[in-house]
Protein backbone atom coordinates (compact mmCIF):
# COMPACT_ATOMS: atom_id res chain seq x y z
CA UNK A 1 0.00 0.00 0.00
CA UNK A 2 1.37 3.42 -1.02
CA UNK A 3 1.84 5.90 1.80
CA UNK A 4 0.97 9.42 0.60
CA UNK A 5 3.15 12.10 2.11
CA UNK A 6 2.47 15.63 0.95
CA UNK A 7 4.61 17.20 3.66
CA UNK A 8 7.75 16.74 1.55
CA UNK A 9 6.39 19.34 -0.90
CA UNK A 10 7.04 22.22 1.49
CA UNK A 11 10.76 21.90 0.91
CA UNK A 12 10.26 22.56 -2.81
CA UNK A 13 7.94 25.54 -2.42
CA UNK A 14 10.31 28.08 -3.98
CA UNK A 15 11.00 25.76 -6.88
CA UNK A 16 7.28 25.41 -7.53
CA UNK A 17 6.71 29.12 -7.21
CA UNK A 18 9.49 29.86 -9.68
CA UNK A 19 8.01 27.34 -12.06
CA UNK A 20 4.59 28.86 -11.71
CA UNK A 21 6.02 32.29 -12.47
CA UNK A 22 7.63 30.96 -15.66
CA UNK A 23 4.39 29.23 -16.69
CA UNK A 24 2.31 32.37 -16.16
CA UNK A 25 4.85 34.54 -17.96
CA UNK A 26 4.98 32.08 -20.86
CA UNK A 27 1.22 32.02 -21.07
CA UNK A 28 0.98 35.80 -21.10
CA UNK A 29 3.70 36.10 -23.73
CA UNK A 30 2.28 33.42 -26.02
CA UNK A 31 -1.25 34.79 -25.70
CA UNK A 32 0.02 38.21 -26.76
CA UNK A 33 2.10 36.68 -29.55
CA UNK A 34 -0.68 34.34 -30.56
CA UNK A 35 -3.25 37.13 -30.74
CA UNK A 36 -0.93 39.21 -32.89
CA UNK A 37 -0.31 36.31 -35.23
CA UNK A 38 -3.97 35.29 -35.14
CA UNK A 39 -5.20 38.79 -35.97
CA UNK A 40 -2.73 39.10 -38.83
CA UNK A 41 -3.67 35.69 -40.20
CA UNK A 42 -7.40 36.45 -39.86
CA UNK A 43 -7.06 39.71 -41.78
CA UNK A 44 -5.09 37.84 -44.46
CA UNK A 45 -7.81 35.16 -44.63
CA UNK A 46 -10.36 37.90 -45.35
CA UNK A 47 -8.14 39.69 -47.84
CA UNK A 48 -9.19 40.03 -51.44
CA UNK A 49 -5.74 38.91 -52.52
CA UNK A 50 -5.65 35.21 -53.18
CA UNK A 51 -1.95 34.89 -52.33
CA UNK A 52 -2.42 36.29 -48.84
CA UNK A 53 -5.40 34.01 -48.27
CA UNK A 54 -3.37 31.01 -49.42
CA UNK A 55 -0.40 31.78 -47.21
CA UNK A 56 -2.59 32.37 -44.17
CA UNK A 57 -4.57 29.20 -44.77
CA UNK A 58 -1.40 27.13 -45.20
CA UNK A 59 0.12 28.53 -42.05
CA UNK A 60 -3.02 27.98 -39.99
CA UNK A 61 -3.58 24.41 -41.10
CA UNK A 62 0.03 23.38 -40.58
CA UNK A 63 0.00 24.61 -37.00
CA UNK A 64 -3.56 23.52 -36.25
CA UNK A 65 -3.16 19.99 -37.53
CA UNK A 66 0.17 18.97 -36.03
CA UNK A 67 1.04 18.27 -32.37
CA UNK A 68 2.51 21.17 -30.39
CA UNK A 69 5.13 18.85 -28.96
CA UNK A 70 6.48 18.17 -32.44
CA UNK A 71 6.35 21.88 -33.29
CA UNK A 72 8.44 22.67 -30.21
CA UNK A 73 11.05 20.07 -30.98
CA UNK A 74 11.06 21.04 -34.62
CA UNK A 75 11.55 24.74 -33.88
CA UNK A 76 14.44 24.06 -31.56
CA UNK A 77 16.28 21.22 -33.31
CA UNK A 78 15.25 21.33 -36.98
CA UNK A 79 15.21 25.05 -37.74
CA UNK A 80 18.93 25.47 -36.95
CA UNK A 81 19.77 22.60 -39.31
CA UNK A 82 17.49 23.61 -42.16
CA UNK A 83 17.44 27.39 -42.04
CA UNK A 84 20.46 28.09 -39.89
CA UNK A 85 18.32 29.90 -37.34
CA UNK A 86 19.74 29.31 -33.88
CA UNK A 87 17.41 29.92 -30.98
CA UNK A 88 17.51 29.52 -27.25
CA UNK A 89 14.96 27.06 -25.85
CA UNK A 90 12.93 30.00 -24.58
CA UNK A 91 12.75 31.75 -27.97
CA UNK A 92 11.96 28.49 -29.72
CA UNK A 93 9.19 27.76 -27.22
CA UNK A 94 7.72 31.23 -27.52
CA UNK A 95 7.76 31.00 -31.30
CA UNK A 96 6.17 27.56 -31.51
CA UNK A 97 3.49 28.24 -28.91
CA UNK A 98 2.60 31.63 -30.37
CA UNK A 99 2.21 30.14 -33.83
CA UNK A 100 0.19 27.23 -32.49
CA UNK A 101 -2.11 29.48 -30.46
CA UNK A 102 -2.24 32.02 -33.30
CA UNK A 103 -3.56 29.45 -35.74
CA UNK A 104 -6.54 28.80 -33.47
CA UNK A 105 -7.06 32.47 -32.63
CA UNK A 106 -7.08 33.24 -36.36
CA UNK A 107 -10.11 31.04 -36.98
CA UNK A 108 -11.94 32.52 -33.98
CA UNK A 109 -11.19 36.09 -35.08
CA UNK A 110 -12.13 35.42 -38.69
CA UNK A 111 -15.40 33.86 -37.55
CA UNK A 112 -16.11 36.82 -35.28
CA UNK A 113 -15.51 39.34 -38.05
CA UNK A 114 -17.73 37.62 -40.62
CA UNK A 115 -20.49 37.21 -38.01
CA UNK A 116 -20.99 40.99 -37.93
CA UNK A 117 -23.90 42.06 -40.10
CA UNK A 118 -22.79 43.31 -43.50
CA UNK A 119 -24.97 46.39 -42.94
CA UNK A 120 -22.41 47.62 -40.42
CA UNK A 121 -19.59 47.82 -42.94
CA UNK A 122 -22.01 49.25 -45.51
CA UNK A 123 -23.02 52.00 -43.10
CA UNK A 124 -19.36 52.68 -42.36
CA UNK A 125 -18.46 52.91 -46.06
CA UNK A 126 -21.49 55.06 -46.76
CA UNK A 127 -20.15 57.52 -44.17
CA UNK A 128 -16.86 57.63 -46.04
CA UNK A 129 -14.80 55.38 -43.79
CA UNK A 130 -11.97 53.61 -45.63
CA UNK A 131 -11.90 49.81 -45.06
CA UNK A 132 -9.13 49.90 -42.44
CA UNK A 133 -10.83 52.54 -40.35
CA UNK A 134 -14.18 50.76 -40.59
CA UNK A 135 -12.53 47.54 -39.43
CA UNK A 136 -10.83 49.23 -36.49
CA UNK A 137 -13.67 51.46 -35.29
CA UNK A 138 -16.83 49.60 -36.28
CA UNK A 139 -16.32 45.90 -37.04
CA UNK A 140 -13.57 44.77 -34.65
CA UNK A 141 -15.00 46.31 -31.45
CA UNK A 142 -18.26 44.45 -32.04
CA UNK A 143 -16.57 41.28 -33.21
CA UNK A 144 -14.13 41.17 -30.28
CA UNK A 145 -16.96 41.44 -27.79
CA UNK A 146 -18.70 38.55 -29.48
CA UNK A 147 -15.63 36.33 -29.66
CA UNK A 148 -14.30 37.01 -26.18
CA UNK A 149 -15.56 33.73 -24.66
CA UNK A 150 -13.98 31.70 -27.46
CA UNK A 151 -10.71 33.63 -27.20
CA UNK A 152 -10.60 33.06 -23.45
CA UNK A 153 -11.29 29.37 -23.92
CA UNK A 154 -8.40 29.14 -26.32
CA UNK A 155 -6.20 31.04 -23.87
CA UNK A 156 -7.03 28.52 -21.16
CA UNK A 157 -5.83 25.78 -23.47
CA UNK A 158 -2.77 27.87 -24.15
CA UNK A 159 -2.03 27.98 -20.43
CA UNK A 160 -2.02 24.19 -20.29
CA UNK A 161 -0.05 23.86 -23.51
CA UNK A 162 2.86 25.74 -21.95
CA UNK A 163 3.50 22.59 -19.90
CA UNK A 164 5.08 21.12 -23.02
CA UNK A 165 7.99 23.56 -22.99
CA UNK A 166 9.55 21.36 -20.33
CA UNK A 167 10.78 19.11 -23.18
CA UNK A 168 13.15 21.91 -24.15
CA UNK A 169 14.25 22.23 -20.49
CA UNK A 170 12.46 25.54 -20.03
CA UNK A 171 11.98 25.65 -16.24
CA UNK A 172 8.18 25.97 -16.09
CA UNK A 173 5.96 24.49 -13.40
CA UNK A 174 5.94 21.00 -14.91
CA UNK A 175 9.70 21.01 -15.41
CA UNK A 176 10.30 22.04 -11.82
CA UNK A 177 7.82 19.37 -10.77
CA UNK A 178 9.92 16.79 -12.60
CA UNK A 179 13.01 17.97 -10.77
CA UNK A 180 11.24 17.82 -7.43
CA UNK A 181 9.91 14.36 -8.28
CA UNK A 182 13.34 12.98 -9.15
CA UNK A 183 14.86 14.61 -6.13
CA UNK A 184 12.28 13.46 -3.59
CA UNK A 185 11.34 10.11 -5.17
CA UNK A 186 7.76 11.26 -4.64
CA UNK A 187 6.43 11.73 -8.21
CA UNK A 188 2.77 11.18 -7.30
CA UNK A 189 2.73 13.92 -4.68
CA UNK A 190 4.66 16.43 -6.75
CA UNK A 191 2.63 15.88 -9.94
CA UNK A 192 -0.57 16.08 -7.91
CA UNK A 193 0.61 19.38 -6.51
CA UNK A 194 1.38 20.60 -10.03
CA UNK A 195 -2.11 19.62 -11.19
CA UNK A 196 -3.68 21.37 -8.20
CA UNK A 197 -1.79 24.55 -9.05
CA UNK A 198 -3.04 24.47 -12.68
CA UNK A 199 -6.58 23.78 -11.49
CA UNK A 200 -6.52 26.56 -8.91
CA UNK A 201 -5.70 29.08 -11.62
CA UNK A 202 -7.82 27.79 -14.46
CA UNK A 203 -11.02 26.84 -12.65
CA UNK A 204 -11.96 30.41 -11.64
CA UNK A 205 -11.14 31.52 -15.18
CA UNK A 206 -13.46 28.94 -16.73
CA UNK A 207 -16.21 30.04 -14.35
CA UNK A 208 -15.69 33.60 -15.47
CA UNK A 209 -15.81 32.64 -19.15
CA UNK A 210 -19.02 30.71 -18.56
CA UNK A 211 -20.75 33.62 -16.84
CA UNK A 212 -19.55 35.91 -19.59
CA UNK A 213 -20.98 33.55 -22.22
CA UNK A 214 -24.31 33.52 -20.40
CA UNK A 215 -24.43 37.29 -20.27
CA UNK A 216 -23.59 37.52 -23.94
CA UNK A 217 -26.35 35.03 -24.73
CA UNK A 218 -28.82 37.05 -22.69
CA UNK A 219 -27.79 40.28 -24.39
CA UNK A 220 -28.67 38.93 -27.80
Amino acid sequence: MYEWDFSILWGYRWLFLQGLGVTVAFTAATIAGGLTIGMTAAICLLSRFRILRGIALGFIEIFRCTPVLVQLIWCYYALPMIAGIEMTPITASLLALSCYGGSFYAEIIRGGIVSIDVGQSEAASALGMPPGLAMRRIILPQALRRMLPALMNQSILQFKNTSLVSVLAVPDLVYQGQIAAHDSFRPLETYTAVAVAYFAILFPLTLYVRSRERRLGAAR
Binding site: A123, S125, L127, M129, P141, Q142
Partner: protein
Protein backbone atom coordinates in the same frame (compact mmCIF):
# COMPACT_ATOMS: atom_id res chain seq x y z
CA UNK B 1 -31.48 70.70 -69.72
CA UNK B 2 -33.23 72.93 -67.27
CA UNK B 3 -31.73 76.13 -65.99
CA UNK B 4 -30.83 74.55 -62.66
CA UNK B 5 -27.63 72.58 -62.64
CA UNK B 6 -28.04 68.87 -62.14
CA UNK B 7 -26.53 67.45 -58.98
CA UNK B 8 -26.68 63.82 -60.02
CA UNK B 9 -26.28 62.63 -63.56
CA UNK B 10 -26.41 58.98 -64.49
CA UNK B 11 -25.87 57.78 -68.03
CA UNK B 12 -26.08 54.37 -69.71
CA UNK B 13 -25.73 52.58 -66.41
CA UNK B 14 -25.63 48.79 -66.43
CA UNK B 15 -25.21 46.25 -63.70
CA UNK B 16 -25.49 42.50 -63.65
CA UNK B 17 -25.23 40.05 -60.79
CA UNK B 18 -24.12 36.80 -62.40
CA UNK B 19 -26.72 35.93 -65.02
CA UNK B 20 -29.19 38.50 -63.77
CA UNK B 21 -29.12 41.93 -65.39
CA UNK B 22 -30.58 44.23 -62.74
CA UNK B 23 -29.91 47.60 -64.38
CA UNK B 24 -30.27 47.92 -68.14
CA UNK B 25 -29.22 51.25 -69.57
CA UNK B 26 -30.37 53.65 -66.89
CA UNK B 27 -30.29 57.39 -67.57
CA UNK B 28 -31.28 59.74 -64.83
CA UNK B 29 -30.75 63.31 -63.69
CA UNK B 30 -31.52 64.93 -60.40
CA UNK B 31 -31.29 68.68 -60.25
CA UNK B 32 -29.82 70.58 -57.34
CA UNK B 33 -32.35 70.59 -54.51
CA UNK B 34 -34.51 68.11 -56.37
CA UNK B 35 -36.29 65.23 -54.71
CA UNK B 36 -36.70 62.13 -56.81
CA UNK B 37 -38.70 59.11 -55.68
CA UNK B 38 -37.75 55.75 -57.16
CA UNK B 39 -40.80 53.52 -57.30
CA UNK B 40 -41.31 50.04 -58.59
CA UNK B 41 -41.99 46.45 -57.59
CA UNK B 42 -39.34 44.59 -55.62
CA UNK B 43 -36.61 43.28 -57.87
CA UNK B 44 -37.04 46.17 -60.27
CA UNK B 45 -33.50 47.41 -59.57
CA UNK B 46 -34.35 50.59 -57.69
CA UNK B 47 -32.29 49.75 -54.59
CA UNK B 48 -29.36 48.68 -56.75
CA UNK B 49 -29.57 51.95 -58.65
CA UNK B 50 -29.57 53.87 -55.36
CA UNK B 51 -26.56 51.90 -54.13
CA UNK B 52 -24.74 52.66 -57.35
CA UNK B 53 -25.09 56.36 -56.60
CA UNK B 54 -22.66 56.08 -53.69
CA UNK B 55 -20.80 53.13 -55.19
CA UNK B 56 -21.74 50.63 -52.54
CA UNK B 57 -22.48 48.70 -55.71
CA UNK B 58 -20.07 49.14 -58.61
CA UNK B 59 -21.82 49.36 -61.97
CA UNK B 60 -20.47 47.37 -64.91
CA UNK B 61 -20.88 50.14 -67.44
CA UNK B 62 -21.90 53.79 -67.75
CA UNK B 63 -21.10 56.98 -65.88
CA UNK B 64 -22.17 58.46 -62.60
CA UNK B 65 -21.64 62.06 -61.66
CA UNK B 66 -22.48 63.43 -58.25
CA UNK B 67 -21.62 67.09 -57.73
CA UNK B 68 -18.20 67.55 -59.28
CA UNK B 69 -17.08 63.95 -59.13
CA UNK B 70 -17.50 61.70 -62.13
CA UNK B 71 -16.91 57.97 -62.22
CA UNK B 72 -16.76 56.09 -65.50
CA UNK B 73 -17.32 52.37 -65.58
CA UNK B 74 -16.79 49.82 -68.26
CA UNK B 75 -13.92 48.00 -69.86
CA UNK B 76 -11.50 50.89 -69.59
CA UNK B 77 -12.42 51.42 -65.95
CA UNK B 78 -9.47 52.27 -63.80
CA UNK B 79 -9.20 50.53 -60.48
CA UNK B 80 -11.04 52.63 -57.94
CA UNK B 81 -8.85 53.57 -55.04
CA UNK B 82 -10.28 52.91 -51.60
CA UNK B 83 -9.31 56.42 -50.51
CA UNK B 84 -11.01 58.27 -53.35
CA UNK B 85 -14.07 56.06 -53.00
CA UNK B 86 -14.26 56.88 -49.32
CA UNK B 87 -13.87 60.60 -49.98
CA UNK B 88 -16.66 60.44 -52.55
CA UNK B 89 -18.99 58.54 -50.23
CA UNK B 90 -18.40 60.99 -47.41
CA UNK B 91 -20.22 63.55 -49.58
CA UNK B 92 -23.28 61.39 -50.17
CA UNK B 93 -25.42 60.50 -47.17
CA UNK B 94 -27.23 57.19 -47.11
CA UNK B 95 -29.96 55.87 -44.86
CA UNK B 96 -30.75 52.16 -44.87
CA UNK B 97 -33.87 50.10 -44.40
CA UNK B 98 -32.36 48.31 -41.40
CA UNK B 99 -30.93 51.49 -39.77
CA UNK B 100 -27.43 49.99 -39.37
CA UNK B 101 -26.64 52.12 -36.35
CA UNK B 102 -23.40 51.16 -34.63
CA UNK B 103 -24.69 49.22 -31.60
CA UNK B 104 -21.51 49.64 -29.55
CA UNK B 105 -21.73 53.44 -29.57
CA UNK B 106 -24.20 55.83 -28.03
CA UNK B 107 -26.54 57.89 -30.18
CA UNK B 108 -24.10 60.79 -29.99
CA UNK B 109 -21.18 58.45 -30.67
CA UNK B 110 -22.90 57.28 -33.84
CA UNK B 111 -23.35 60.81 -35.09
CA UNK B 112 -19.86 62.15 -34.29
CA UNK B 113 -17.97 59.03 -35.44
CA UNK B 114 -17.50 59.93 -39.10
CA UNK B 115 -17.06 63.71 -38.66
CA UNK B 116 -14.19 63.05 -36.22
CA UNK B 117 -12.52 60.07 -37.85
CA UNK B 118 -13.20 60.77 -41.52
CA UNK B 119 -13.29 64.55 -41.67
CA UNK B 120 -10.85 65.05 -38.83
CA UNK B 121 -13.19 67.45 -37.06
CA UNK B 122 -12.34 68.60 -33.57
CA UNK B 123 -14.32 66.58 -31.03
CA UNK B 124 -15.97 69.61 -29.43
CA UNK B 125 -17.10 71.01 -32.76
CA UNK B 126 -18.30 67.58 -33.87
CA UNK B 127 -20.41 67.26 -30.73
CA UNK B 128 -21.95 70.70 -31.23
CA UNK B 129 -22.84 69.88 -34.81
CA UNK B 130 -24.13 66.43 -33.88
CA UNK B 131 -26.39 67.91 -31.22
CA UNK B 132 -27.75 70.36 -33.79
CA UNK B 133 -28.54 67.47 -36.16
CA UNK B 134 -30.15 65.45 -33.38
CA UNK B 135 -32.17 68.52 -32.46
CA UNK B 136 -33.44 68.66 -36.03
CA UNK B 137 -34.76 65.12 -35.89
CA UNK B 138 -36.13 65.70 -32.39
CA UNK B 139 -33.76 63.39 -30.52
CA UNK B 140 -31.32 65.71 -28.75
CA UNK B 141 -32.53 64.35 -25.39
CA UNK B 142 -31.54 60.80 -26.43
CA UNK B 143 -27.91 61.61 -27.21
CA UNK B 144 -26.48 59.55 -24.35
CA UNK B 145 -28.64 56.48 -24.92
CA UNK B 146 -27.53 53.32 -26.66
CA UNK B 147 -29.24 52.51 -29.98
CA UNK B 148 -30.91 49.33 -28.72
CA UNK B 149 -32.94 51.34 -26.22
CA UNK B 150 -34.63 53.29 -29.03
CA UNK B 151 -37.73 52.52 -31.06
CA UNK B 152 -37.39 51.80 -34.76
CA UNK B 153 -38.55 55.27 -35.70
CA UNK B 154 -36.06 56.86 -33.34
CA UNK B 155 -33.25 54.66 -34.66
CA UNK B 156 -34.03 55.71 -38.20
CA UNK B 157 -34.04 59.38 -37.22
CA UNK B 158 -30.64 58.92 -35.57
CA UNK B 159 -29.44 57.31 -38.81
CA UNK B 160 -30.64 60.39 -40.69
CA UNK B 161 -28.84 62.69 -38.25
CA UNK B 162 -25.69 60.55 -38.59
CA UNK B 163 -25.74 60.91 -42.37
CA UNK B 164 -26.45 64.64 -42.18
CA UNK B 165 -23.55 65.21 -39.80
CA UNK B 166 -21.20 64.66 -42.73
CA UNK B 167 -22.89 67.59 -44.50
CA UNK B 168 -23.51 65.60 -47.68
CA UNK B 169 -24.42 67.12 -51.04
CA UNK B 170 -27.11 64.53 -51.59
CA UNK B 171 -29.07 62.15 -49.41
CA UNK B 172 -30.07 58.66 -50.50
CA UNK B 173 -32.90 56.85 -48.73
CA UNK B 174 -33.27 53.11 -49.22
CA UNK B 175 -36.78 52.00 -48.16
CA UNK B 176 -36.20 53.67 -44.84
CA UNK B 177 -39.70 53.03 -43.49
CA UNK B 178 -40.11 49.43 -44.63
CA UNK B 179 -38.79 47.92 -41.38
CA UNK B 180 -40.90 50.16 -39.17
CA UNK B 181 -44.17 49.52 -37.37
CA UNK B 182 -46.90 51.51 -39.13
CA UNK B 183 -47.34 53.98 -36.28
CA UNK B 184 -43.64 54.92 -36.44
CA UNK B 185 -43.53 55.65 -40.16
CA UNK B 186 -44.86 59.18 -39.84
CA UNK B 187 -42.08 60.57 -37.66
CA UNK B 188 -39.41 59.39 -40.13
CA UNK B 189 -41.27 60.73 -43.14
CA UNK B 190 -41.64 64.05 -41.35
CA UNK B 191 -37.87 64.26 -40.84
CA UNK B 192 -37.34 63.61 -44.56
CA UNK B 193 -39.98 66.15 -45.48
CA UNK B 194 -38.19 68.77 -43.39
CA UNK B 195 -34.98 68.02 -45.26
CA UNK B 196 -36.73 68.46 -48.58
CA UNK B 197 -38.02 71.82 -47.42
CA UNK B 198 -34.45 72.80 -46.54
CA UNK B 199 -33.48 72.22 -50.16
CA UNK B 200 -31.50 68.99 -49.81
CA UNK B 201 -31.04 66.99 -53.00
CA UNK B 202 -32.53 63.59 -52.36
CA UNK B 203 -33.23 60.27 -54.01
CA UNK B 204 -35.78 58.19 -52.18
CA UNK B 205 -36.61 54.55 -52.76
CA UNK B 206 -39.97 54.04 -51.13
CA UNK B 207 -43.25 52.18 -51.12
CA UNK B 208 -45.05 55.09 -49.48
CA UNK B 209 -46.86 56.36 -52.55
CA UNK B 210 -48.73 59.28 -50.93
CA UNK B 211 -45.48 60.39 -49.36
CA UNK B 212 -43.68 60.22 -52.69
CA UNK B 213 -46.48 62.23 -54.21
CA UNK B 214 -46.21 64.89 -51.52
CA UNK B 215 -42.51 65.26 -51.05
CA UNK B 216 -40.94 64.33 -54.40
CA UNK B 217 -41.00 66.64 -57.35
CA UNK B 218 -40.17 63.84 -59.73
CA UNK B 219 -41.02 60.18 -59.77
CA UNK B 220 -39.08 57.51 -61.59
CA UNK B 221 -40.94 54.25 -62.04
CA UNK B 222 -38.75 51.19 -62.64
CA UNK B 223 -39.47 47.64 -63.66
CA UNK B 224 -37.11 44.78 -64.57
CA UNK B 225 -34.09 47.05 -64.62
CA UNK B 226 -35.60 49.70 -66.89
CA UNK B 227 -37.02 53.13 -66.25
CA UNK B 228 -40.58 52.63 -67.44
CA UNK B 229 -41.98 56.05 -66.72
CA UNK B 230 -40.63 59.28 -65.39
CA UNK B 231 -42.11 62.68 -64.73
CA UNK B 232 -43.51 65.17 -62.24
CA UNK B 233 -44.57 63.27 -59.12
CA UNK B 234 -48.26 64.16 -59.11
CA UNK B 235 -48.65 63.59 -62.80
CA UNK B 236 -47.08 60.12 -62.77
CA UNK B 237 -48.88 59.00 -59.63
CA UNK B 238 -52.28 60.47 -60.44
CA UNK B 239 -52.36 59.82 -64.17
CA UNK B 240 -49.78 57.18 -65.10
CA UNK B 241 -49.32 56.69 -68.81
CA UNK B 242 -47.84 53.21 -68.81
CA UNK B 243 -49.72 50.02 -67.98
CA UNK B 244 -46.95 48.76 -65.74
CA UNK B 245 -47.07 51.92 -63.64
CA UNK B 246 -50.84 51.79 -63.44
CA UNK B 247 -50.84 48.16 -62.33
CA UNK B 248 -48.21 48.78 -59.70
CA UNK B 249 -49.90 51.89 -58.31
CA UNK B 250 -53.28 50.20 -58.16
CA UNK B 251 -51.89 47.99 -55.37
CA UNK B 252 -51.43 51.01 -53.17
CA UNK B 253 -53.71 53.71 -54.22
CA UNK B 254 -56.67 54.18 -56.47
CA UNK B 255 -55.36 56.18 -59.39
CA UNK B 256 -56.71 59.69 -59.35
CA UNK B 257 -57.96 59.45 -55.78
CA UNK B 258 -55.98 62.04 -53.90
CA UNK B 259 -57.41 61.35 -50.50
CA UNK B 260 -56.47 57.70 -50.23
CA UNK B 261 -53.57 56.65 -48.06
CA UNK B 262 -51.18 53.85 -48.63
CA UNK B 263 -52.11 50.57 -47.01
CA UNK B 264 -49.77 48.10 -48.61
Amino acid sequence: MTAKASMIEIARLRKRFGQLEVLKDINLQVEQGGVVALLGPSGSGKSTLLRCMNLLVHPDDGTIRVGETTFRFGRSMEQLKAKSLAAFRSRTGMVFQSFNLFPHMSVLGNVIEAPIHVKGLDRKIAIDQAMAQLEKVGLADRAAQMPDTLSGGQKQRVAIARALAMEPEVMLFDEVTSALDPELVGEVLQAIQKLAADGMTMVIVTHEIPFARDVADRVVFMRDGYVVEEGPAREVIDTPRMDATRTFLSHFHRVGDRTSTATP
